[in-house]
């Protein structure tokens, strides 16, 4: 595996990552979410052509802990072969972003607490590495003792100690023939000193990169920024940095701005579940008023004029009743959905409870998010990342849902 930093803009950087399999791609990169090895709703045979950058996936070893799936993945010879995703990067991230949140309280010297299909259980090191080795991921995160920022000091210190010990233990159990693929975890959520200590310890280990944990757990945004900065300052520049738990556009920008290279995000899927399509503009040159829009917001929709569409609610009755919107979700978008279908058709599918609606939405939302990551990389290469971030966050609003129905809906960006 080779990782090379190619360009910088502030602390943000573009890198090229070449995996042992030969697959090469640019960072910062989005890892698409999978469950039991496969995308949640996108047909697997469509994944390759979804977008030029749709090559990297996240998976959770916790899904593969128990039989029969544990035996099945081992027999298949790894998760790539199991899910027929050879040619993709499969990155093992312990935290299940679609599943339950970290409880944080339970852990022992033997392992950390995770939600599995048979309930919450302690996952020990041997078991974790058995699953990691059976899955043969391109990159994998060491077993974390991840805690939220509000735990007592003692527990936080303990999590740093555990995580460091477990990193060493995981490294001792990794399969030598798979090479150096470990992302050493950095914790320390409650305290900047502990965060620095965790990063210092991880930095001395022989790892391919690092995974920053303990984020996306309700922490204050400014505090998060300090934690990212403090941790990354202790990490070598030439190794990969991943963060889990951060996925919204603002979180991505904050993480990339601090120097993160890889993120797994459920943001596209969260929108899909709410029947929302991602529509935010990607180019700084496009004016704030969405030029594609042929609908003018009216006062009873409660939207100020000049508002830029960030998301479109496809469930709105307006589609069936009043306006028939035969434009694609985003005019000019080259995704499978936008090349073929219209907003009114997706609205019809949603009203008929057809699962095709989710498939079409998820394809678009994933494509749009991959375009967002591409725009980020372009801005770094042009040394304009700060401008891009400022522009993007100023044109987005937290109450950023244009509801075309009677009840405005507020969607949190986590």
């Amino acid at each position: 595996m080779e990782f090379t930093v190619r360009a910088c803009s502030g602390h943000g950087r573009v890198g090229s990552l070449r995996l042992a399999s030969g697959l090469e791609f640019e960072t910062p990169s989005l890892l698409m979410i999978t469950r039991r090895g496969l995308p949640v709703v996108i047909p697997p045979e469509m994944l390759m052509d979804l977008h030029p950058d749709s090559r990297a996936c996240q998976f959770t070893p916790m899904h593969f802990l128990e039989d029969p799936l544990a035996a099945v993945v081992a027999k298949a010879g790894g998760v790539h072969k199991l899910a027929s995703l050879t040619g993709f990067a499969m990155v093992a991230v312990a935290r299940d972003s679609l599943g339950n949140e970290i409880a944080g309280e339970e852990a022992s010297n033997l392992g950390a607490s995770f939600e599995t299909s048979s309930g919450r259980r302690i996952v020990g090191l041997e078991k974790y590495m058995e699953v990691v080795n059976a899955c043969k991921p391109d990159l994998w995160v060491s077993l974390p003792d991840e805690v939220p920022h509000w735990v007592p000091e003692k527990r936080n210190r303990e999590s740093v100690d555990h995580t460091s010990q477990w990193l060493d233990h995981c490294l001792s159990l990794q399969h030598a023939e798979h090479g150096n693929r470990c992302l050493g975890v950095v914790v320390g959520a409650g305290s900047l000193e502990e965060r620095a200590r965790s990063a210092e310890q991880a930095a001395t280990r022989n790892v391919a990169g690092f995974s920053l944990a303990g984020f996306g757990l309700g922490e204050d945004v400014a505090q998060r920024g300090f934690h990212l900065e403090v941790a990354i300052a202790k990490l070598p520049n030439d190794k990969l940095r991943h963060v889990c738990g951060l996925g919204s556009p603002e979180e991505v920008l904050q993480a990339v701005g601090a120097g993160i290279d890889l993120l797994d995000s459920t943001y596209p899927y969260m929108l899909t579940k709410e029947c929302l399509a991602m529509t935010f503009p990607l180019k700084m040159e496009v004016p704030l008023r969405n030029a594609d829009r042929d609908m003018q917001p009216t006062p009873d929709h409660g939207v100020a004029s000049g508002f830029s569409l960030a998301k479109v609610n496809l469930r709105s009755a307006t589609y069936g009743g009043g306006r028939i919107d035969e434009t694609p979700l985003v005019t000019g978008c080259k995704c499978y959905t936008c090349k073929r279908h219209t907003k009114v058709y997706i609205n019809q599918l949603l009203n008929s409870n057809e699962t095709l609606a989710q498939t079409l939405l998820e394809i678009h939302n994933t494509y749009h998010y991959l375009e967002f990551f591409k725009a980020i990389r372009e801005s770094i290469k042009a040394d304009k990342f700060h401008e891009f971030r400022t522009w993007f966050t100023s044109q987005r609003q937290e109450l950023g849902v244009l509801s075309l129905g009677n009840i405005p809906r507020v969607v949190s960006c986590n």
Binding site: R35, R36, E45, A71, V72, L82, S84, H341, Y345
Partner: protein, 314 residues
Amino acid sequence: MNWPRALLTDSGGFQMVSLLHLADITEEGVTFQSPVDGKPMLLTPEDSIQIQNKIGADIIMALDDVVKTTTTGPRVEEAMYRTLRWIDRCIAAHSRPHEQNLFGIVQGGLDPQLRDICLEGLVARNLPGYAIGGLAGGEGKDAFWRVVAQCTAGLPEDKPRYVMGIGFPLDIVVCTALGADMYDCVYPTRTARFGSALVSEGVLRLTHAAMATDYRPLDSSCTCMVCKRYTRAYLHTLVTKEAMGSQLVSYHNISHMMQLSRNLHSSILEGRFPEFVQSFLQKQFPKGDVPDWVCNAMDVAGIDISMCRIPQSA
């Protein structure tokens, strides 16, 4: 839909049977109680055809008065005669006869005399195609195939025959042997959602514990994307747990039915249809326990399947 291939729309008539407790059928049409808001909705033959004209499918279905095959008494006769009166209203209301093909639907329950009257009446209207309706309910298989045989014998040779609501592979093979051409059914995708895959030997229940260690593809003779990529063992871990499991098994099941259609079609064209039927039955009934109704139907169809059947008493 951006669907560049053929489309067929149903009339809404089937709802009469499946939502019967909500329906009041009169000469005018069918009154439903809307399941959404409880208000009465009337669907007349004219309404049905108008809506189907707007949707624009290549084949549209007449609104018929459908009764369950288990119904007995004068209601069956009433429904058959009303179907004939309604076909005239459908023909009159059809505003796009040169673009959309209106199929009539043969009714009459399980009564051969009623079916005959309906057949005669519909054939006289010289429609582009005909459906055999009112089956796929609770009737026994022996009654079912006899009605299909009677109808295919009474319908024109040069027009499509569409048996509505049929989807079990065995039923399709039998009906094809009896002279039918088209079928529709929710069965392949519905059974997929319950974790069952359609294979040459019959139905594979992926939820069964034995599947957990079965590393073969669903069907060894299937070339679909799912069979090329995934094992029974992996699919076993997905079905009933992930939507993707339903998606993948549905994909295979539809592919399986498409392959069955292609096999029926090409075996007939190539003059080896009896051999195909024999091979199909041998795979489905390796012990030779082909049901009586299938044997009787194949007898009438003129297909020799004696080699597929081992008498059970022997």
